[in-house]
Amino acid sequence: MRPFDHQTPANAHTAVHLAAAHPTAAFLAGGTNLVDHLKLGITHPDLLIDLSAATTAAITELDGRLLIGAGARNSDIAADHRVRTRYPALAEALLSGASGQLRNMATAGGNPLQRTRCAYFQDTTTPCNKRRPGSGCAALGGFTRGHAILGASDHCVATHPSDMAVALTALDATVHVLGPDGERTIPFVDLHRLPDDDPTRDTVLDHGDLITMIELPDSPIARQSRYRKVRDRASYAFALISVAAALEVTHGVITDARLAFGGVAHKPWRARAAEQILIGEPATDDTYRLAAETELANARTLDGLDGGNAFKVPLLIRTATAVLRQLAEEPR
């Protein structure tokens, strides 16, 4: 690990100015991803800007919307009564991630910005376009069980690992950002990027952009939401695939729907094509399956030394069908 300075600015503006003045500074929140990356030698900041005083951990309400401070811990967000009742998919997504200890450390701002768990990205002895542009992609022809089936490029086939981000994508969240040029908001669905020809960039944020808050809209449908995660062991494992969904059914007909997939792409995947299929159709397994199949029509699976990731397509179709069925049959 290379040496670095550690500073704890008292407010968000100072944190952003400090970052803007130091091109190789990094924000430190819970540290559960950044400190690991410092040890692995993936990143070499010369200044850590500790956000403990610059961001708030408060969760507040404004006109029916919920504002989650970037410093709020994952465990505290999941325990918040308003989150549990009004945005249950978010609480479920958070609780399905990592472990009790990690959730006590991980923050609302840091979680969506955690980087891929692609084993080659984490191993500095292998080629990786995300870590070292132009070096190649060791995953192609390697182990691809955890890799993407949607939106990948020849440059990178990594998946985004966050559970929380999948729920925020489905539930129409907004990110509040303070940058060197001032404040702006970004729809959560637009925060993460596809790899295209520059996999070094996970999100649309630039250096010095600080997430200050995550906003959840006043959303009746979000009360009828669920998150389901499929993984190799029952707990403390990243998703192979996951589904966040919200459904509104009136007299057996789907009147509104929100659907997002995790573990399938470089970003949490909002399943807009599937939503279009669902709305106006009878709430039946045939509808759910057709919706998921339509979303995955352009899926491109990968071969791999470990058998590849083609299993994700039927697994995701079945999981999405099951979650939507549960939402229709067992309203919260």
Binding site: P3, D5, L95, S99
Partner: protein, 176 residues
């Protein structure tokens, strides 16, 4: 002479309360809380299993909440309160969770045990505060069932596979 581009480690003084005693140390900013405790303060109760957040052997309580010492930079614990498994038994008086581990034979080699014990203390506090888990209905008040305990303790691996008795020990401690 140092090679070009070489940078010395950056040192800073921090004051941390460890197991009830205030400790002031000069640490390199790169030092983790785990290395501070083990290498600088001689408290070897938190263990280094993986050093990457994947095993829970380094679990301690930071301001009463369970965290991983291997992913916590020591500088961030300045002015904070750290409790290790060692500190749960001041003067050798065992904490009820520690006693429950003994009563139920909840370990074999013991390497994961200090982390398990700190994690259980944290998990029981979370249960008492009504924090939900992946094992139960998120809108209901949680009960310390075996399924709940297994889920809440999943961040602590045990190479010896003492899980069955660990769950029994935490059940006993939860009954008080």
């Amino acid at each position: 002479m140092a090679p070009a581009g070489y940078r010395r480690g950056v040192e800073t003084a921090i004051t941390t309360r460890v197991d009830g005693t205030t400790r002031t140390t000069r640490v390199d900013t790169r030092t983790t809380l785990l290395d501070l405790l083990r290498e600088r303060l001689g408290n070897t109760s938190p263990k280094k299993g993986c050093d990457h957040g994947q095993c829970g052997a380094c679990t301690v309580l930071l301001d009463g909440r369970r965290v991983l010492a291997c992913l916590t930079l020591a500088v961030t614990t300045h002015d904070h309160d750290v409790t290790t498994a060692d500190g749960l038994a001041p003067d050798g008086d065992l904490h009820p969770v520690q006693q429950a581990f003994l009563d139920n034979d909840a370990f074999q080699c013991g390497y994961c045990t200090p982390g398990q014990v700190c994690s259980a203390v944290g998990a029981l506090a979370e249960l008492a505060q009504g924090h939900p888990s992946h094992a139960g209905d998120i809108t209901a008040d949680p009960e310390p069932t075996r399924a709940e305990i297994a889920e809440r303790m999943s961040g602590n691996l045990c190479r010896c596979g003492a899980y069955t008795n660990i769950i029994t020990a935490v059940e006993q401690a939860a009954r008080g």
